[in-house]
Amino acid sequence: MSLLPWSIYVSLAGALLALAAGRHSARAARWVALLAASGAWALTLLAATRFVPGPGLQTLVDHAWLPSMGVHYHLAADGISLTLLVLTGLASTAGVLFSWNITERAGEFFALFLTLVAGVYGVFLSADALLFFAFYEIAIVPKYFLIAIWGSTNREYGAMKLALYSFAGSAMVLAGLLWVYAAGGGHGFAFGDLAQAAATLPRHQQIVVFAFVFFGFATLAGLFPLHTWAPTGHVAAPTAASMLLAGVVMKLGAYGCLRIALPLSPVGFAYWQTPIAWLAVIGIVYAGLVALMQTDLKFVIGYSSVSHMGFVMLGIAAANLQSVGGAVLQMFSHGVIAGLLFAVVGRMVYDRTHTRQLAELRAMPLHRLMPFAAAVFVIAGIASMGLPGFSGFPAELTILVGAWKTNPAWAAVGAVGVLVAAAFTLRAIQVSFFGSVDKPQPAGQVTHLEPITLAEKAGAILLISATVLIGLKPDILLNWINPALQSPLFQTVLRGGPS
């Protein structure tokens, strides 16, 4: 367990080394990045083998950082953070593999990529709200440059919109945290201290503070109607950045909602629970319907991410042990599946055909030209639809069952979202890869595409194995997650239930 903080340091060191190596050659930079990303991932896996599940955060490092204000450099982990740390390692390693073709300013690319990853590891390990916030911002800034420099469609707009939404959200969080901190007499930012301080505020103030912190984080989680940055950002981003963005960065928001906002003020949460849940289910269905209407394949995936994140938010809003456990599982599952989908669309298809328009893809016999990509996309699509055998199934099922216990109506509308997801996923698969199956090939068509590289195959296999493994044995993660939900902080907001 004590190895976990090194995931941050290894990523940061990797960022510096990649920057230096990039001055030498792109090849050196990408090997450095691969070593750093997989090294950090290996650390999380190693820590996972020694992990003893239990309630509450297990402290790894605790130094006074800013003693006069009670800020600590306090890193700790429980089953929830561990799940997301493993996901981060997986997604970042796969992200490097799918960025193997980056040649322009490669050193800077991987440096920013690894800085972002370090920020994400830091967020998942923080046990001090201010430290959490600092890492959270470290993860936001590199995204802007990754998209603005290496992105595609409308990249400057997408990058700026994403940065401003994220930053506005984090400004709300900071205001809320400082509010509670001041109310507590300035003792510190430990999660428990903040919850105690918030309890001293009058009810109406608790309601406002909770809204600041929760909706601040929910912006990054893509909660409807704060999600509009997500599709444009995902679409503009280079493949690896979309994978990280959908795979782990949106999870930062959801994790913030769960870890900080929920325990902060049970009173505020009780007030907002119903609106949040309805926003989540509206998001699930609405984003699914919008995905159904898209003409750009990457927008389909972008909106599907918003829809799937809606399940995470629904699980959190339903606030019982089962639904929240499902939400964490869904964070992992969606992180893997969204990474896979973006990898196919951004790296395998777009980098070779230079189009993502469904109408143009329909005309290409992609299933014949790229059988591997087609197979991966079908698998990812099936996983994304939540079919049994893949991680999406236990995750979404647990969330819906959990939500049903709190309010059957939420579960019912959420289930409609599953159907919509099946519809847009099938349409995307059919149109993009199998659009020309029964048509004769028109003359002057593309007949050859650059073959799928080893790096891409390795990345795809990694992600597919993860989703199948968790689909078949979700207990691996649930055995970490469920004990963590027994911690006293969560007990104040979560209703019990068999789990």
């Binding site: 006069s68 603005a148 420099i149 401003l164 506005a168 900071l174 205001a175 400082l178």
Partner: protein
Amino acid sequence: MSPDYAGLFQALGPEAALVLGALAVLGLDLTLFRRHSLDERLRLALWMGSLAVLAACVHVWRGGTPGPVFGGVLILDPLAVATRLGVLVLTLLTLGVARGATARRQPAEYVAVILLAAAGLTLMAAAQQLLIVFLALELASLSLYVIAGFDRTRPDSAEAALKYYLFGGIAAAFLLFGFSLIYGVTGSIELPEIAKQISVQGANPLLMVALVMVLVAFGFKTAAAPFHLWAPDVYQGAPAPSAALVASASKLAGFTLFTRLLWPGLGAAAGNPASFNAGPGWLPAVAAIVAASLLLGNLVALAQTNIRRLLAYSAIAHSGAMLLGVMAAGRAGPAPLFYYASTYGLATVGAFGVICAVERAGRCESISDLAGLHKRSPFLAACLAVYILSLAGIPPLAGFFGKFTVFAAAIRLGGVAAPAGSLAVLAIALSAVALYYYLIVLKQALVAKPAADASSIKVPPAMALSLFAAAGLIVWFGLFPGQLLGLF
């Protein structure tokens, strides 16, 4: 009590070092170095100037005995010592930046005047008597007017100096008027005595008039809205190193002086920080200036296309935040404000340093002149990213902790519902707006491709050292904020 001339001399060691340094720079330039080339003369003058600043640093470090000096004319408390060191470090960095400026006529005079300005600023940091306050302020201001107008080849520079001088002159008049009223009300020019008298007499209409005068004057000096009009023109027209000094060291010393004047001196007339309805005081007036500066600075900055004007409006916004720190200093102490002002100074010196470096290879007026800086000089681009992100308040850079500590102190005054708290929330909201214009700058520097005729930029070693030191200090104090915040 007999006058303690030895103590006074010891306390004024740094100023003496700076003035002697200025004289030496002038003397040697007129005699020994006379026949050297302009560039060589600038180099020698800067080396000697830097030595003088370092000597002053040593004097501050070894410093006199803490406490009042010469019957209370000066005070050597932690804030004074820290501010003096801060001012000297910022001056040193400015001298390094000036190494990269193209050699003008009279390089030695330029360095000598910078040293005199620094002497005025270090004196401001320790002044505790109204006469000394005014003298220090005028010494610093007059020197700054001169260096603002030093580039005689450009009309912009003359315009900057003239505007700065006229506004500054009026501000000085306001200040002197305010001081004379304070003297009339309290019968003293020494801050501890003034404080005693005010707490005995209570609020007094004449005192309120005096306070307004003082606030107006400091509003001018710190470029806070609505007294900010000179700032964009000065930042735009002055030579880059001069603008750097105006924006950094002069701000730091100004805010220290302002805090000292308002809290230990006029604290009894502050009013209630938790609620403005409780009685008259200067807090409501400062709060109005804070709100105006935050809104005007951040919103107008959005519309700027000139990099220096953008920095000027961002400076106005930062002044608003620092004034919030002044409001909170009564309870939280000067630590958050000092941290904010000094780290802001580092970032600003750096940003103007980068502008100065880019000017070596062409123009640097519009933001798009920074285009492709990452190709033209990766070092400058990396430094600029650190400065700008620090100004934007991104952790783990020092700018984040500046904002964080000041806002936390302001909210702690009376919760978010109290005036200072709501101003802090406004400032946090506007920091999200500010990110937009900071990212616009970085977009040009790091994302955009260089213009076709843009050449790569060579940075002289002294300047590179200066920029690197500024960036390094920003990162260092961001990672270890307790090192500055724990000083007080």
